[in-house]
């Protein structure tokens, strides 16, 4: 069982929903990332999604685009991101880490070289936004070989006919994109998500994570009742943006506060389930 699978099944056994924060690696500067990751864990993160900066983040909204631009000002590369993970693992060997990004930096490195480097530094899963299950060409095999989980997005527009491929090629969990839009949009419709999750649940042999558009405790509370994991990105990254020029301490404080809000909301939702 992978670290992601272990974490999610342990939480499930306790009736808990995972909180999964996203930050862009190297944002607002390279030496902040490892410290911020530890802070996220301290404030209740069950897994971490680490964004790999790419010059053309086609599926990201303005908040994460700007985060990526901040990181790229420091020329943060995929190799650097793997180095942050290695450093993080010196003190934390428990929290699963998922790399989220686009295919081209991985193509440049080579699938097998990337897969073995990522698994050796302690990455647990990879989500590649512009690599659908159909185009595998050896990529997913390379990840599978070294035991990296393959996380796929499923969206409100994903037809039934494609779910089987996602279920077959994916592992760890399925990431349900809770709205039509880029990261950071705010059109979250809880009733619609509930309908969709119901449609998906019995077609997937994996836990369901829900992300995109979860900006506050209220959203997180609703989503925690529907999925096994709640993924929050732009809401945190916009706080990094607001404090980009401040001391690390200030960034940690801002992120910590927001994480506490999310954690409390999710715990409240989980308590509700236990009562039922």
């Amino acid at each position: 069982m992978s670290r992601i699978q272990k974490t999610l099944s342990a939480l499930k056994a306790q009736g808990k929903t995972a909180l999964v924060p996203y930050v862009t690696a190297g944002d607002p500067r390279p030496n902040a990332t490892v410290a911020l990751m530890h802070k996220l864990v301290e404030k209740g993160a069950d897994m971490i999604e680490l964004g790999v900066p790419f010059s053309d983040p086609m599926a990201d909204g303005p908040v994460i685009q700007k985060a990526v631009e901040r990181a790229l000002e420091h020329n943060v590369s995929l190799d650097d991101v793997l180095e942050y993970v290695r450093a993080f693992r010196e003190k934390d060997n428990e929290t699963p880490i998922i790399l989220m990004g686009y295919l081209n930096p991985i193509e440049a490195e080579g699938y097998e070289a990337f897969a073995s480097a990522a698994s050796s530094v302690g990455v647990d899963g990879v989500l590649t936004v512009d690599m659908p299950p159909e185009e595998s060409m050896g990529y997913f095999e390379a990840l599978n070989q070294v035991g990296l989980d393959r996380i796929f997005l499923v969206s409100p527009t994903t037809p039934e006919s494609r779910l089987a491929a996602v279920n077959q090629k994916g592992s760890g969990f399925v990431y349900y994109v809770s709205l039509k839009g880029v990261t950071g949009s705010n059109e979250l419709d809880a009733a619609d998500v509930a309908r969709q999750i119901e449609r998906l649940q019995d077609k997937m042999d994996m836990p369901m994570g829900i992300g995109f558009g979860i900006r506050n405790g209220e959203n997180a509370y609703q989503m925690a009742q529907l999925g096994d994991a709640v993924i929050v990105g732009s809401a945190l990254v916009s706080l990094i943006e607001a404090n980009a020029h401040c001391d690390l301490y200030e960034i940690e404080l801002a992120l910590g506060e927001k994480m506490t809000e999310f954690r409390a909301a999710i715990d409240r939702a989980d308590a509700l389930n236990v009562q039922e």
């Binding site: 631009e69 020329n75 995929l78 081209n104 440049a108 936004v129 185009e135 796929f152 409100p156 527009t157």
Partner: protein, 401 residues
């Protein structure tokens, strides 16, 4: 060579290792629907009749194949014919494609059209067909291009389109494409994305090629009629590659016809400030397909430079990547200075003011023609007219505009 070019791309959009569908999940269903609709319509007589009527009566096709006698003689060598795509309604080849995609949009019941544009020609062509069909139209354009192609921005607005200046990234065509994709992901239910070049995820490269292939079909017929033989060489500029593949495609099986795609060398390939991925890039994945890209060793896309906004793009359509690898087409590059000279030459000798994009093809023909004999023939795709470039030219030549 025994490649059956008509068999490409395969059903998943692959041209050898290139092309494919590398798209965010939210778009996969829309791309599949578009592909199905396109595959069923592309041989549908009613659809093709409607398309051909529009091309004839609205666009003004067929465009002439013009023997540029004075210019050819000044060069001393091959006879050069110009395929006059500049004479299309809206002034470039782009409309061949927008007319086709707009018909598809109508069939799919979409009420809103979006497009990316570099030079503004595709934006104008999209705004034009949107006006004609009464559809809402939003055009994404890099903020730098909004400035250098101001006349086309005015035309788009006049036609009722909303022009969004894209400030992210390098503020040029690639960033406009990113922003259009983001719009499409968000508004996929009611929106049709008209991609303006033979790139993007399948089925766009094949579909745009098919709509542009009328250029080569006409040219082949016209040259056989005028000269009784096929040309010896074809020359077209390559941004994303739509006017080039449009001219080339019909001639791919004709082994005796040499094919030259001309990329933008900008300040010179050796300076790194150019837009010539086929000449100086390497394969990768961007904007939904695998193709040659300008990128650094970490796979980040690097900024491009060309005097012409329409060529200022770090990628290229996947069919060109494949034609390069199998050796069927040659890809060369022309720098800003050479393109400007081509622009001046054609204006001076033929009274035709070419677009700066097309001027790259003109400039390459001025190098190629003298190496050939007087009984040989070159067809140059004159992809667009130069009115839109008057700002840039006025600045360089130092006159008031």
């Amino acid at each position: 060579m025994t490649v059956d070019f008509a068999k490409f791309p395969d059903e998943h959009g692959h041209f050898g290792p290139y092309g494919g569908i590398f798209a965010p999940e939210t778009l996969m269903a829309a791309l599949e629907q578009l592909n199905q609709e396109y595959q069923s319509l592309k041989n549908d007589p009613a659809f093709l009749n409607e398309l051909n009527d529009d091309l004839r009566d609205y666009v003004g096709r067929p465009t002439p194949l013009y023997y540029a006698k004075r210019w050819s003689e000044s060069l001393g060598g091959a006879k050069i014919y110009l395929k006059r795509e500049d004479l299309n309604h809206t002034g470039a080849h782009k409309v061949n494609n927008t007319i086709g995609q707009a018909l598809l949009a109508k069939r799919l019941g979409k009420t809103r059209i979006i497009a990316e544009t570099g030079a503004g020609q595709h934006g104008v062509a999209s705004a034009t067909v949107a006006a004609r069909l009464g559809l809402e139209c939003v055009v994404y354009m890099g903020a730098d291009d909004v400035v250098r192609q101001a006349p086309n921005v005015a035309r788009m607005k006049m036609l009722g389109a909303t022009v969004v200046a894209v400030e992210s990234g390098t503020r040029t065509l690639k960033d406009a494409l990113n922003e259009a994709m983001r719009d499409w992901v968000t508004n996929v239910d009611n929106t049709f994305y008209i991609i303006g070049t033979a790139a993007g995820p399948h089925p766009y490269p094949a579909m745009v090629r098919d709509f542009q292939a009328i250029i080569g079909r006409e040219a082949r017929e016209q040259i056989l009629e005028k000269e009784g033989k096929l040309p010896d060489a074809l020359v077209a500029c390559v941004g994303g590659g739509s006017n080039a593949i449009g001219l080339f495609h019909e001639f791919l099986p004709d082994e005796g016809v040499a094919i030259y795609g001309v990329e933008a060398a900008g300040h010179g390939i050796e300076t790194g400030e150019h837009a010539a991925p086929l000449c100086a890039g390497k394969p990768g994945v961007l904007h939904g397909n695998r193709t040659y890209l300008m990128q650094d060793e970490h796979g980040q896309i690097v900024g491009t430079h060309s005097i012409s906004a329409g060529l200022d793009y770090p990628g290229v359509g996947p069919e060109h990547a494949w034609l390069k690898d199998i050796g069927r087409a040659n890809y060369v590059a022309i720098n800003d200075e050479e393109a400007l000279q081509g622009f001046r030459d054609l204006t001076k000798y033929e009274g035709i003011i070419p677009a700066l994009e097309s001027s790259h093809a003109i400039a390459y023909a001025t190098k190629l023609a003298p190496t050939m004999s007087a009984d040989q023939i070159i067809i140059v795709n004159l992809s667009g007219r130069g009115d839109k470039d008057m700002n840039t030219i006025a600045q360089i030549e130092g006159f008031e505009f």
